[in-house]
């Protein structure tokens, strides 16, 4: 489609008072073939918007540059449908509200902003969503047939979607099926597990297909297009799948490592899992002699909240022990239960069950076991009672129950070693390397993803493949694959049900969005996708290695094989590519390069330095808006270029800027490190790493390294922005003008 571009400059909100609008119209738009150039005192008002609409309808304008306020406001007023490209240029927060009015420097800033906008509009193409040739599947694969897995499948079915469950055991149920009772909302008494009914519902549901004694052998493709090889009872099957829920559950912490608590030494010391199974089977008796049980002591946090074992809290064990104490009392009302604890953690309404357990006469002792022994066929436990402040000895115990914690099924016993990549440090003589917890290899086999970046979901600390984000608990680093239940975090049954429903929602949503060519979180709805100009690819593999979502596979020669439905549109691949072959329709290396080139670089004797700031549009850019709204002031010599993610920053922009005489480069990105805030996992970190390599460029140009700087700017750091800029401008003044000006 031929472009017909119009520029509209709003003169309201102080813009008209700060700038020479006629001069801006002339000098800010030259060289871009703009067809219509108008200004209006209240562009977002009905009259202003109508003015634009008239030109769209009457003049055939199809590309609109709005030079006014921030793109974060009036987005609805300036939306003219998908056929009209809208480019926003900030003259308000970044110019009129933060710069001295009617100054030459302010005018030049506005002109550069407008020129960058016109340049960007020129290079923006209409978006055509990705559409695969094969038909899309909207079926949900659920790996794991326990409470979370069965719930996810049933809930998806209730919304009209087909589901496939793959369960490794010969029957559904998981740990729920091995329990006697549960404690759940409203936490007043024990409840039936409902396992049998739930299994029945799943088996009766025509939209659910169940494979038992089964495993997933291989997952290839991407959302909407997954091909899943399943082995069940020795037979093989392949399913076309839209999205995946992994609910492979947990295993109890290995009590054999708890010898200090008598496990393995005394038969009557059992784990809470063994206790549950005994209760479910019928009667709780002493394992040593099958005798009746009267006095039971529960040791809480057995191996949990312990840096030597599981440093985290398994959340459910307090309630489980109270539940099992209830079993003991139900069996023998005269029985006495002692519960030795660190903190009782019954949150929310489950406090009611704690109150009940206390009212039932169970003895809660805050303290730690110091010794466990046997005397006269009965066990005794010595403990420091914190509340009495003295050592106590509890004797005549029939049983001791160790409340062991939950280990995610994804955590392997040992840290795996894999074949090291060619340039990896720390490989042994066989070329093998121990992999980090978030490597994607660090997990027990469940999915067997045929992905360049590893066969399983990346995990967080302690092996949980959970989201790193508080606001987005279903954020996943493998698009279209969501986790649910105790696999991702120790949780009680009520939470596991909620979690499974939520995961089913995300899986369904992913299939729907994918079928329309739309991205999922965080750029939900984005219909652009990266296109690779393969003729110029040098097989350097940077894109396949750096993609935070494992979207790009590789052929044997090292050519990238993109999977657009796995792509999250961050542009990290585009930033990584030294050959600049990766582009989006509305975001490319060439486009940003042209924007930077459109910035006027004054001669050295004018003493007007120029700094380009590549700024993350998710956090730092809104912060800059805030600084403007607060009417903070900063240098008029800086030009802001928004980035989808700072990880899409390509070093060529820095090299080109510096060789044109730009005096300095600032990068504003999100916090990285353990508590990273980058919405694309490691975008800002990658940008920072790439910056380390910029020294080569600087050396080649014989320029000072002080000219380029990375700054972490969070969304609430607006009050810091003027200071950061001022300090950087001082540094630029110190190192002096870039000698390449005028070349």
């Amino acid at each position: 489609m031929d472009k017909k571009t119009a520029v509209y400059i709003c003169t309201g909100c102080g813009i008209g008072d700060a700038l020479n609008i006629e001069q801006l119209k002339e000098e800010g738009t030259a060289d871009f073939g703009i067809d219509v150039i108008k200004d209006h005192p209240f562009l977002c008002g009905q009259e202003g918007v109508d003015l634009i609409k008239q030109d769209i309808e009457g003049e055939g304008v199809n590309t609109v540059v709005i030079a006014a306020c921030s793109h974060r406001v009036n987005y609805d007023a300036f939306n003219f449908g998908r056929d009209v490209i809208v480019q926003r240029v900030n003259l308000r927060e970044q110019v009129a509200w933060s710069q001295a009015p009617k100054e030459e420097d302010t005018q030049m800033l506005a002109q550069d902003n407008l020129k960058m906008g016109c340049s960007q509009a020129k290079d923006t193409d209409w978006v055509q969503p990705y559409k695969a040739e094969e038909p899309y599947s909207k079926d949900i694969l659920v790996v794991g047939g326990g409470l979370a897995g069965m719930t996810a499948a049933l809930e998806a079915a209730k919304a009209g979607y087909r589901a496939v469950i793959v369960e490794k055991e010969d029957k559904l149920g998981g740990f729920l099926g091995r329990m006697k009772s549960t404690v759940t909302l409203p936490y007043k008494a024990l409840s039936e597990t409902g396992a049998a009914q739930l299994i029945q519902k799943v088996e009766d549901e025509p939209k659910i297909k169940v494979y038992t004694s089964a495993s997933v052998e291989k997952v290839s493709g991407g959302p909407g297009l997954f091909s899943v090889d399943i082995k069940a009872n020795g037979n093989s099957a392949t399913e076309r799948i839209g999205a995946i829920v992994q609910a492979t559950g947990w295993v109890p912490y290995d009590a054999n490592k708890l010898g200090h608590l008598g496990y393995g030494k005394f038969k009557d010391v059992v784990t809470n899992v063994e206790m549950e199974e005994m209760a479910a089977a019928g009667k709780i008796t002493r394992p040593s002699d099958g005798g009746d049980v009267k006095n039971v002591l529960f040791i809480q946090c057995a191996g949990s909240r312990d840096p030597e074992h599981l440093p985290y809290c398994s959340s459910v064990c307090c309630m489980v022990s109270m539940k099992q104490a209830t079993y003991v009392k139900e069996q023998n009302p005269e029985a006495v239960n002692y519960i030795l604890y660190k903190d009782v953690r019954t949150v929310g309404q489950s406090e009611d069950f704690y109150r009940k357990a206390q009212n039932d006469g169970n003895v809660f002792i805050r303290g730690a076991a110091t010794q466990l022994g046997e005397a006269g066929g009965k066990l005794f436990v010595e403990a420091d009672d914190e509340l009495l402040g003295e050592k106590i000895k509890i004797e005549d115990l029939d049983m001791v129950v160790l409340a062991v914690g939950m280990v995610p099924a994804s955590r392997p016993e040992t840290t795996p070693r894999i074949k090291a990549p060619a340039d990896a440090a720390g490989a042994d003589e066989n070329g093998m390397i121990e992999v980090a917890p978030d490597s994607g290899f660090f997990a027990n086999s469940a999915l067997h993803l045929a992905y360049r970046q590893g066969p399983e979901l990346p995990t967080l600390k302690y092996g949980f493949p959970d989201s790193h984000f508080i606001c987005f608990p279903y954020e996943t680093r493998r698009t279209g694959i969501y986790t649910a239940g105790c696999l991702r975090r120790p949780m009680e049954t009520a939470k596991a049900i909620e979690d499974a429903v939520g995961a089913a929602m995300k899986a369904i949503q992913c299939t729907e969005a994918t079928a329309e060519g739309k991205a999922v979180h965080p750029r939900a709805g984005d219909m652009t996708f990266p296109e690779f100009n393969m003729q110029r690819c040098t097989q350097c593999k940077r894109c396949t290695e750096e993609c935070p979502f494992g979207a790009i596979n590789e052929d044997e020669k090292g050519n990238p094989l993109p999977n657009p439905t796995r792509c999250r549109r961050c542009g990290v691949c585009m930033g990584a590519c030294p050959e600049r072959i990766i582009s989006f329709k509305n975001y490319s290396v060439g486009m940003i390069g042209n924007m930077i080139k459109s910035v006027h670089v004054p001669e050295e004797d004018e003493e007007k330095p120029r700094v380009i700031c590549l700024i993350c549009e998710n956090d730092a850019l809104p912060a800059l808006d805030m600084a403007g709204i607060k009417r903070m002031k900063w240098s008029p010599y800086i030009r802001f270029v928004p980035m989808r993610c700072l990880g899409s920053m390509n070093l060529v922009w820095i090299a080109d800027s510096l060789s044109r005489g730009i005096d300095g480069i600032l990068l504003f990105g999100c916090r990285h490190g353990d508590d990273y805030q980058c919405h694309f996992v490691k975008g800002s970190e990658l940008a920072n790493t790439r910056l380390g390599k910029v020294s080569e460029t600087l050396d080649r140009l014989a320029l000072e390294s002080d000219r380029v700087r990375f700054e972490e700017v969070g969304i609430t750091d607006y009050h810091r922005i003027p200071g950061i800029i001022e300090e950087f401008m001082k540094k630029i003044e110190e190192v002096g003008p870039n000698p390449y000006k005028g070349w």
Binding site: Y75, Q349, F464, D499, G502, M505, I629
Partner: protein, 422 residues
Amino acid sequence: MADVQTTSQAILVVGGGMSGITAALEAAEAGYDVVLVERNPYLGGRVTQLYQYFPKLCPPNCGLEINFRRMRQNPKVRFFTMAEVASISGREGDYDVTVKMAPRYVNEKCTCCGKCAEACEAEIDNPFNYGMDKIKAAYLPHEFAFPMRYILDPSIVGTDQGKKCLDACEYGAIDPDMKETTFDLKVGAIVWAAGWNPYDAAKIDYYGFGEYKNVITNVMMERMAAPNGPTGGRILRPSDKKEPKNIAFIQCAGSRDENHLPYCSGICCLASLKQTTYVRERKPDCDIAIFFIDIRALDRLEDFYVKVQADPKVAFIKSKIANITEDEGTGNLILEGENTRTGEQILMNFDMVVLATGMVPNRIELDAAPDVTHDEYGFFTNNPEQPGIYGAGCVRTPTDVASSVQDATAGALKAIQSIARR
């Protein structure tokens, strides 16, 4: 507002906090029409007033910004601020809902230029900062407000001050004649995500909140730590604006107490642990004492507890404080109670006290409401026998942000099922 109509294929989400926003967006991104109503003049709810989230100590606005962007680009979600549900009738798949909108006195022409606030001389207690400072009576609720639009406090409408705002606005955005309006919706399912209120600390009379200036609540502490808060991010005691040398956090202030809230509010332990880091960041030598019954840091949040325990100037004292009195001369607070670990009587003096007050759910209380169930504490019960209206987030159970978002995502699917089943 006769133009607001929806088919019964739409979902109504009540409450525009983290849970409501999530439920609305998750359903909309799966292709469903959603109407979101929020009582405040802005979306975001309680989390907008938090300085940081535990355990990452990251700013809530970061996630909100992403959510607002999702909302900006998704035509499937329509939202109304200053709007409350007045009545609900009907059943699953076919609800008639009346929504009441309070007047904002500022219309959609507002460009946020700020001229009305410049012209206005009247001030009101700043609701965003729990009344700890003043704000002009023509105001933007906060810098990150979404939608970004000013509001006039009703107290100046029809007065000289209101006239000054009207005259100052160049865009005809001030509308003193705005009245309360109502409009009707037809929807197929409802997600109730109306959130929570902090427990009224004044009801715990032995702690002197409201009487002793230097006794504040945990939500007030959040505002104090925020750079856009009443003190510009400085932690100062209210009586004399001095930096406290020592601070006490009292856990379970009203929670786990049959005279107040019998349940555990789930988040207060972590909130106080987090707030110790606010104090530490600003004052390396400030002594902190946390008076607690149990520290409830579930799952990997335990790591955060361990981190705070490593701070040598944070003392954990197992005690339920029985009484607070104020030293009138200094404004200091004298805490009395029993150290249940040592059995000793506590008589300790602090410059400032933070009450870790709990969560009270906003239940459905309408003149006309269909059958819904609440538990004895007012928490919404998702009853499978009563499908169509689903609770999400803290209306169901007191919980943290991540769990609320999980629950709200689940709520979106339940609502979709109510429509899909038809």
